[in-house]
């Protein structure tokens, strides 16, 4: 195990992808000369040249659509969208083309496209740079939605995504980039089918993904001191969702809290909660609880931003309430 930052992990994954397959190229806003908004591709322009590291104009719809076309034309594009907020400008291409063309063409065309983007709040960048919309994307059949939360997943998921014949969207929580974690060097590849149990427990299941994983693990630490044994499930893949790992956990603990940085109404947590109810209703000792973002545009001042987001204290509160403490 070696300690590296999430940023270094993403960067190493990108570098390996570019080195291992000449069809792979990276395009997006400021991925070249600037080195990537989050410095994930710093130095790549010099290393791989301007044909494979392509700075694009601020034309999200067109460079995502061009990724679709390039994938149709035999390349393996990695498109970086600066943040999920900007990806809204490319939703037409994503929803109407990337997700539909395979089915709508009767299986004639595949689109092996990977789109990466930063998501999430916690850095005081206010309401137009802080949202978590990966739950929206998970609504769409025809695409795969990944949320790497650990450095190992950040390091390995990209390569796995590039093996997929259909479009894959990778959501990197912007708060995680500078954080260090233990890279599991024995895991040379990761699978894109299963959720992961990050901490085992017996009393309650905390089910989450992305940036909220660390809050759930923090909450689990504190709960342990009170004698509550929390299991933490990292969903990792929002579509297709591995619900069986979730159900196995809830069957064991009989209680579940779903933590999701998206807004509560229509959240991905709502979907997970519904599937728990459908799958293991009679194993539950109480209703499934949710800890989501407060339904406001994420505000700038730190105290308001903190109050708007899921936090370990809110998770602990939800656990207490569920366990009658």
């Amino acid at each position: 195990m070696a300690k590296i930052t999430y940023r270094e992990a993403v960067r190493a994954g990108l570098r390996e992808a570019l080195q291992s397959d000449p069809r792979v190229f990276l395009m997006g806003e400021d991925v070249g000369k600037y080195g990537g908004t989050y410095a994930c591709s710093k130095g790549f322009l010099e290393e791989f040249g301007p044909e494979r590291i392509r700075d694009t104009p601020l034309s999200e719809s067109t460079f995502v659509g061009a990724g679709i076309g390039a994938a149709l034309g035999g390349m393996r594009p990695i498109v970086e969208v600066m943040t999920v907020n900007f990806s809204l400008l490319a939703l037409d291409q994503i929803v109407n083309n990337a997700a539909t063309i395979r089915h709508m063409s009767g299986g004639q065309f595949s689109i092996p496209l990977v789109v990466r983007m930063a998501t999430g709040a916690g850095r005081q960048v206010a309401a137009q740079h802080s949202h978590s919309l990966e739950g929206w994307y998970a609504h769409i059949p025809g695409i795969t939605v990944l949320a790497p939360a650990t450095v190992t997943d950040a390091r390995r998921m990209l390569l796995a995504a590039l093996q997929e014949p259909d479009p894959v969207f990778i959501f990197e929580h912007a708060y995680l980039y500078p954080l260090e974690g233990e890279l599991d060097e024995s895991a040379l590849s990761v699978d894109l089918t299963q959720a992961a149990v990050r901490r085992t427990g017996t009393d309650i299941s905390l089910i989450t993904f992305g940036g909220s994983l660390w809050k759930a693990l923090g909450a689990a630490d504190q709960l342990a001191q009170e004698g509550i044994s929390a299991e933490v499930v990292d969903l990792r893949i929002l579509r297709p969702l591995d619900i069986s790992t979730v159900l196995t956990s809830v069957r064991k603990t009989h209680r579940a809290v779903v933590i999701d940085e998206g807004w509560r109404t229509g959240s991905f947590a709502a979907e997970v909660s519904a599937q728990i109810m459908e799958g293991v209703f009679y194993d539950l000792d109480g209703p499934v609880a949710r800890v989501c973002s407060v339904e406001v545009p994420i505000p700038y001042p730190k105290h308001l931003e903190d109050a708007a987001l899921p936090q370990p204290e809110k998770i602990i509160q939800a656990v207490h309430s569920l366990m009658g403490r």
């Binding site: 190229f25 044909e51 392509r54 694009t56 104009p57 034309s59 719809s61 067109t62 460079f63 995502v64 659509g65 061009a66 990724g67 679709i68 076309g69 390039a70 994938a71 149709l72 034309g73 035999g74 390349m75 594009p77 037409d92 291409q93 109407n96 083309n97 063309i101 395979r102 089915h103 709508m104 063409s105 009767g106 299986g107 004639q108 065309f109 595949s110 059949p141 025809g142 795969t144 390995r156 390569l159 796995a160 995504a161 093996q163 997929e164 014949p165 259909d166 590849s189 990761v190 699978d191 894109l192 089918t193 297709p240």
Partner: protein
Amino acid sequence: MTHVVDRDHGLELLRQMLRIRRFEEKCAELYSGGKIRGFLHLYIGEEAVAVGAMPCFEPDDAIVGTYREHGHALVRGTPMGPLMAELYGKANGCARGRGGSMHFFDAARHFYGGLAIVGGGLPVAVGLALADHMQQRRRVTACFFGDGAVAEGEFHESLNLAALWRLPVLFLCENNLYAMGTALGRHQSQPDIARKADAYAIPAEAVNGMDVLAVEAATRKAVDFVRAGQGPYLLEYRTYRFRAHSMYDAELYRTKGEVAQWKQRDPIPLFQQELRAQGYLTDADLDNMETAITAEIAEAVSYAEMGPWEPLEDLTKDVYTGVRRQA
């Protein structure tokens, strides 16, 4: 009218225009009979564009079309049977019946749709051209779109990106003067579409889209430019749709007089006259042509009628490719 150089080629152009016209007349009839449902956008009046443009492309070139793409697919060479079956929604359709009128696909002929969000095909065409450029293929991509698409941001973004990266793509605007029911002058501050290419340093030309030979000559010149690696090119084909936008359109936005005036410029009789004037077309030639087309259509209808419905158990097939791989 431009002069016909080669008799066989001239007759083939006429035959292709007639195939589209008669095919779509049959489509309208089948729509009324309930065999075809959903949206049906007919190309009638605009045939000279697809027929003049398509012979300029090599079999390996990529074609990106819109929801008014029946003519393009027919001239590109997709057999009429699978096209008709697609309109029926049958599993022997060119997209297994999944898409219908607006979503023809044909991988073997590099026909990438049939994309029905206005402007949505342009970025995809730019990407196809990018793939060709990066793999050093001499292929070009033909991207058809209507005048309505010119109002979309994707038009401007795509022209800019294609020019910036000197990509081998042809932007082929079929200007039929109406974005559904909104006249060009009512949605564009600068209605001269070809001039918009200037802003992106892309060479452009407006051409009479009712003259099949003019279309062909302009397109060939544009294809040569693009294939030579000189970057994108924009052509504006000035044309007109004789029928309603789709089968649901009451045509409140234009006068019967205007339509009648444009019908004077119907590309099919005009081209017939030209061929006759040069002694290349006789009544017997035309009769033979019509008879063969009628037979082809009858066969296509029968192919569609006989075609199977996709089994319900295949409903979600191809949402993803086969078995999901593990890395």
